[in-house]
Each structure stands twice: as structure tokens, then as C-alpha cells.
Assembly symmetry: C2
Homo-oligomer: 403 residues x 2
């Protein structure tokens, strides 16, 4: 079973209950894997899919994913309108969101009845007497709930916490009891709530679920984690073309972590891609092409990846470039991106050119260049974009000979 | 209606919603008065009865007391055993406590169906979906609940608050909506919870209840408020004799507040009793006799009061005194309690005698004397007790004449 755990570990941040995991995998019994979601409009991205691929790996070994819709908690919403967490949804919206969720999830998970089951937490909360819920509350303290990072941050920021938000982790925790979860794989922001699940399972005499949290990688802008509101994510439902294009736009420094977490490339290859990316220029571009092809292969197959690779090359070396762009011959002394921009805009100040570069407005043969000192190779005609509508086909003049 | 309000004000500390109260009393509509209790074993004392007498006054005007048993909340109890608030009770215990509660309450309130109704909060909580409860939680913030004095004190003392305790005020508050409370009369420690009742009523579009809190008087030891654990209370079910005796034992300084809050003596009489009590000695004793008689009259009728008055005098001047106590003639120079003790115990030190007095071991004609300088009148034989078994019948010698 160590092989299974090792493979999971590639994308695992922390494991709570590793011995239990080992023991349960050894037992041969199909495990119940809790995959809990709230029922707001889903837009799963590569980050979410890390968890899904781990579950898929376990499905392939015969374990069962229990897809748990938190419809009860979603239905409650936030009537005060003061919270920033979740809006109120109608039952119809919840159903529509649930259907969409399943569509997206099925891009990764197997959804055959042997290894997949859909549940809603209203199944138990709709029939739970208030007294029983209060009995759960009696097993947790206010201080325990307030120790959650999110709450502490809110308090520190002077923002309010409504009481239904405060008790949300109790509900999410009890879900693990009700559905007899053996294991759950979540983002680290869910660790607190799922540990409450262990707490309740132990209190109620059930074996506590194992909690795996996954590595979180930054969004395609290299900064915060992927999120819809920052528009820095790669959606599972993005077309192969969009996935490919977004991956080509990531900072060089993300090639290695993305390849490790979002592909199944051998780890040696991952390291090599990281090394190549760190040298910048065409080597980095080629590393990104390989990464993008691997991700597209994973979701859409090798054929789609080949198509996108070809399309990308065509677009960014020929077609996407306007027909009638001016040609420009530049002296052989142009060695760097900054030299190149200076040759194109002789009247602009150095600082404005550097700003243009650092802002990401400059691409060389379709590759964004944000380092002014990065070397450029002008031995063949090179398409340079130095602003929204500023295109040039640049050719390096051969070095002058002394007469 | 001002007369009604003025009469209520005699024992009122704060009024939340005084204009509403005036308006509703003016409307002529019978008001619903919430009298909520938890179902732990009851032992109502004079302090609780202050609220009951205010309700009784309103019953006599045609308003209805809704006696609300918090059976749901009592049933939950505290399975963690870490709280100091309430133990878990069985349904049978709850029923027994409820019956005992009603017995005690009926010593003050009218219990005829026109003006009295018994409800249990399980009526609404047993059929409330969890989602609806969470909807209530959404209307309150964690900070609001934690602002309650009791919780702040617990946190300051490093003690834990279980979550069912934290949300208890929400349940108590919602009770006011469910039972359509117009008015509630509570101890000031309940003000927070009942204000949440107003909050929910307003949120749910109902007229908010008026909240009256009552003046709290100290226990018979003159210190903390009456409580069973301190054994410093006068129970409603105490016999007329016990009530009378306990009232005779209170510090002089409590005669005025007790007479104001625990009797319906005219306020001028209350002031006069207070003045008499402040002079100490026989005048204070007589003031206490009048107070004790008024309280016993209120609960047991004038006949019982006369009986107790006679019994008290008999006991503490004749009968309770052992048959064969020594007589002692003391010189006319004995003027104070300390003089008297010195005459009885010529070999004891002044400081030990003072200590005996201050500890309350000394009674003169059945009245405890704690002031060494209090005057004593020895013109008639006087029974002095200067310790558990130290009795003397003391007679003052006539002043010696010079020969």
C-alpha cells in the first residue's frame, strides 16, 4: 500500500491519521471517500482537480467517492446580507448547480454506481430534531470554533461572524458521521472543519476519517491561489485551446510546480522542465509547451494536445499576427529585450520601456517577456508585439564588417 | 394606566420599551406575559416572587401569564460535563420539576384558564426544521452573543463555553416570537436574552415585547442575592414559622429594602420601618416583627401572621429558654450589651466578649445584638444568651442609695 500512499503524497500537504489510512487501505475493504461541496455555482479549476485526481486514483483501486451536496447549509444562506461567504439560493438554483457540479466532476471522476454515490446533507438534517443538533453543539466549545483561521482573520479585520457561519463547521463535521466517511481529501482551508468531523466520529464511537489536504499552487498570475474573482484560474470546462493558452502565459517559475501537481509526468521530467523554465527565453517557452500539452492530454487526450500545440505555433508565429505588420531591421548590437524595445521605440525613455516590459505587454514570437535583460535571438525573422496594436517583424542586421 | 406603571415601578429596575407598555396597557387588549423558566428543580424564593407579584397584579387586571417551560433546552443539558450551568435531566425529572414549579407558582399567581396558560418550548422546537433554526442563527452575530456578561466573565476566568450554551439566548429569544409575548418580567441577568427576543420579534415583523427587570435584594445574610447554595434565602414553600424566623434574623439595614420589595406596605410605612431599624435594639426588633408579619400575611394570611408573632414572642422570651437557667443580678451601671456580657463573664477579656457579640452569638430577649454599644433595658427580667448553652435571666439592681 506504500505505493498508493507515495503516489497520493505527490500532491499531499498534510495527512491527519496516516496510520489509519495505511491500515484501512490494507484491510481490502472499499473505503468511503467524502467529497463535500456547497451548492453555489461551481466553476472547478485545476486546483480543485488535484483532489479529484487523487480520488480518481482511489476509485481505480475500487474505493467509493461519496459526492456530498451541502444543500441544507446552502439553503440557509445569509439573510442578513452582512456576510461575505454565501448567498441565499432557491431549491431550483441548488438543483441546477448540483447538476453542473456533477458534469464538471465527471471530467475526472468515474461516476458509475460501483465507485460513486451522490448524497445531500438535507437527508439527515431535514429529519434531525433541534434537540439533537443542540446535543452536537454541546460537544464543541465556542473557543474551538473561533480558533478557525478564517474567523480569527475576520475578527482581526473587525468584520462580523453570523452565528450560522460560526456553527457551519459543526454541520460539516457531523456530515462525516452521517455518511460514514473513511477519508476526505480537501484544500487546507477545510482542514479545521474536517478535523471536527474526526472529533464527532470519535465522540459518537465511529472510526475517525483520515484527512488529506492538498498542495495549493498559485494562480496563473503567479500570485494568489486560483479564483474566479481574480480571473487567474484554468477551469476544468475551459476549452483545450483556453487551457493551452492560459498555461503558456504563466510565469516561468510556475512551470515546475504546475507540472508536478497538474500532470502525471515522471518527477524527473518535472525537474528537467523546471530547470529549462528557469533559463528563460525559448527553453522556457518549450517547457511551457510541454506542460500545456501534458495538461491538455490529461483532460482531452493526446490528439487534442497535438492539435493545440500546432495551433499555438501557427498562431503565434504566423497567423494571429496582423497581415501587414511593418518589417524592421535592427543592428546586431541588439541582444536583449530592452535593446529590442529601444530599437522599435527610439524616442521612448528607458524607464517607460522597462515598465512596458514589466507589465507583460511585450511578447517575442508569442512568448511574453517580462525580464528586460532576457536575451533575444534575431537570426530568423521574429514577431515582436510591444503593445496592444504595435507589431513588428524584426530581422537582425548581420554584423557590419570593417571595410 | 400610569397608576399601574407606578405600582410596577416599585419593584422595577429597568424598562425596555416603556412607551410600548403604556400603549398596550391603554389598548384594553389582554396582554400575554411571558414567564419562562428552565426545568431544573425549582425552589422559588422571595426574590423570584417579586416578579410573580408584578405578574399577579397584571393578572388581576385581566392580563394573561404564559408560563413557559423551557423543556427542550433543559433536555439538552450538558453532555460534556464541563459546564457549570445545567445538568442533563430525564423527561420524568422534567415533568416532576414542572409540577413542583406550578405548585410553587400558584402560591402567588392565579392559575385559572382566563389568565394563565402553560406552554413548553418543545412545542415549537420539536417541529422546527434545522434549516429554520440556522435561519435564526443567521440573524445574530457571534460578537452579539459573546457580549453577554456571563460569557465575558467566563472567558475572563479562562472557562469554556460550549456552543449549545452560546446559542441558548437565541432559543430563549425566539420563544418570545413563538408564544407572542407582549411583556416579560425578569431578573436583570435575563435582560440580554430577552432583548434578543425583541430583536427576533422585530426581524420577523412582530411587535417587540416589553422587558421589565426587577430590583434584586440581597439574601438574608445581607450579602449576595438569595440562592439555594448559599442557604441565605426565604423559600416560597418555607413554613410561616420559617419565613418569620428568617426575617427576624436579617441585618437591620435590610428592613427597609425588604419591606419595599417583599411587602405591599405603604411606602411611608416602609420608610418609618427603615428609620426604626436603623436605631437598633428593641426598635429594630419591632420593625422586623412588623416586616415579618407583613410578609407572612402576604403568603399565608393575617391569621398565620398573628400566630407566628405570638409564637415568636413566647419562644424568645419564655419557652425556648431552658427551664433552669440561673438568675443574675447586675449593677445599675450596666447600660450596654458589652457591659452586660462583662457582668456575665467577669473573667473574659474585652476583646473576646466583643468577638462573641460581633459573631452574633449574643441575644437579648431573643433579639440578636451585634453592636457592643447597643443600649440594654434591664428594668424587667431579661433573658440573655451569650453562647450555645449559656443562658441567664438578668435583673438590674436598683441604683444604690448613699447611706
Amino acid at each position: 500500500m506504500n505505493a498508493v500512499i507515495d503516489r497520493l503524497r505527490r500532491t499531499t500537504d498534510t495527512v491527519v491519521g496516516e496510520d489509519d489510512l495505511r491500515e484501512r487501505l490494507d484491510s481490502g475493504r472499499p473505503l468511503r471517500i467524502k467529497y463535500g461541496v456547497d451548492c453555489t455555482a461551481p466553476d472547478l479549476h485545476l486546483g480543485h482537480a488535484v483532489n479529484l485526481w487523487m480520488m480518481r486514483q482511489l476509485q481505480d483501486l475500487g474505493h467509493r467517492v461519496v459526492f456530498l451536496l451541502g444543500d441544507l447549509t446552502t439553503r440557509v444562506g445569509d439573510p442578513t446580507g452582512r456576510s461575505e461567504t454565501r448567498p441565499v439560493l432557491t431549491p431550483a438554483q441548488i438543483d441546477a448547480n448540483a447538476a453542473s457540479f456533477l458534469d464538471q466532476v465527471s471530467l475526472v471522476l468515474r461516476t458509475d454506481a460501483d465507485v460513486f454515490e451522490v448524497r445531500r446533507n438535507s437527508e439527515w438534517y431535514d429529519v434531525m430534531p433541534v434537540a439533537e443538533l443542540l446535543g452536537l453543539f454541546a460537544q464543541v466549545t465556542q473557543a474551538q470554533l473561533m480558533s478557525r483561521d478564517m474567523f480569527r482573520e475576520r475578527v482581526a479585520a473587525g468584520r462580523e461572524i453570523a452565528v450560522h457561519e460560526l456553527v457551519y463547521p459543526v454541520l460539516q463535521g457531523y456530515d462525516s458521521c452521517a455518511m460514514e466517511s473513511d477519508l476526505t481529501i480537501v484544500g487546507s482551508d477545510q482542514l479545521f472543519n474536517e478535523q471536527l468531523g474526526r472529533h464527532f466520529q470519535q465522540r459518537l464511537g465511529a472510526p475517525p476519517q483520515v484527512v488529506l489536504t492538498t498542495t495549493i499552487t498559485p494562480g496563473i498570475d503567479g500570485r494568489a491561489k486560483q479564483s474566479k474573482s481574480l480571473n487567474n484560474y484554468i477551469g476544468l470546462t475551459d476549452s483545450p485551446r483556453d487551457k493551452f493558452g492560459k498555461l503558456m502565459s504563466i510565469p516561468d517559475s510556475l512551470v515546475e510546480p504546475y507540472a508536478r501537481v497538474y500532470t502525471e509526468l515522471p518527477l524527473d521530467d518535472v525537474a528537467a522542465l523546471g530547470d529549462a523554465a528557469s533559463t528563460g527565453g525559448p527553453a522556457a517557452r518549450d517547457a511551457k509547451l510541454r506542460l500545456a500539452a501534458a495538461v491538455v492530454t490529461r483532460y482531452h487526450g493526446a490528439g487534442a494536445a497535438r492539435t493545440e500545440l500546432a495551433a499555438f505555433r501557427r498562431t503565434f508565429t504566423d497567423r494571429a499576427v496582423p497581415e501587414d505588420i511593418p518589417e524592421l531591421a535592427v543592428p546586431a548590437s541588439v541582444r536583449t529585450v530592452l535593446d529590442l524595445l529601444r530599437a522599435i521605440n527610439p524616442s521612448a525613455s528607458n524607464s517607460s520601456l522597462r515598465r512596458l516590459i514589466s507589465q507583460g505587454a511585450v511578447t517575442v514570437d508569442g512568448i511574453r517577456c517580462q525580464d528586460p535583460a532576457a536575451p533575444v535571438d534575431l537570426t530568423t525573422p521574429t514577431v515582436v508585439r510591444s503593445g496592444p496594436r504595435a507589431w513588428h517583424r524584426v530581422v537582425g542586421e548581420p554584423p557590419r564588417r570593417h571595410r
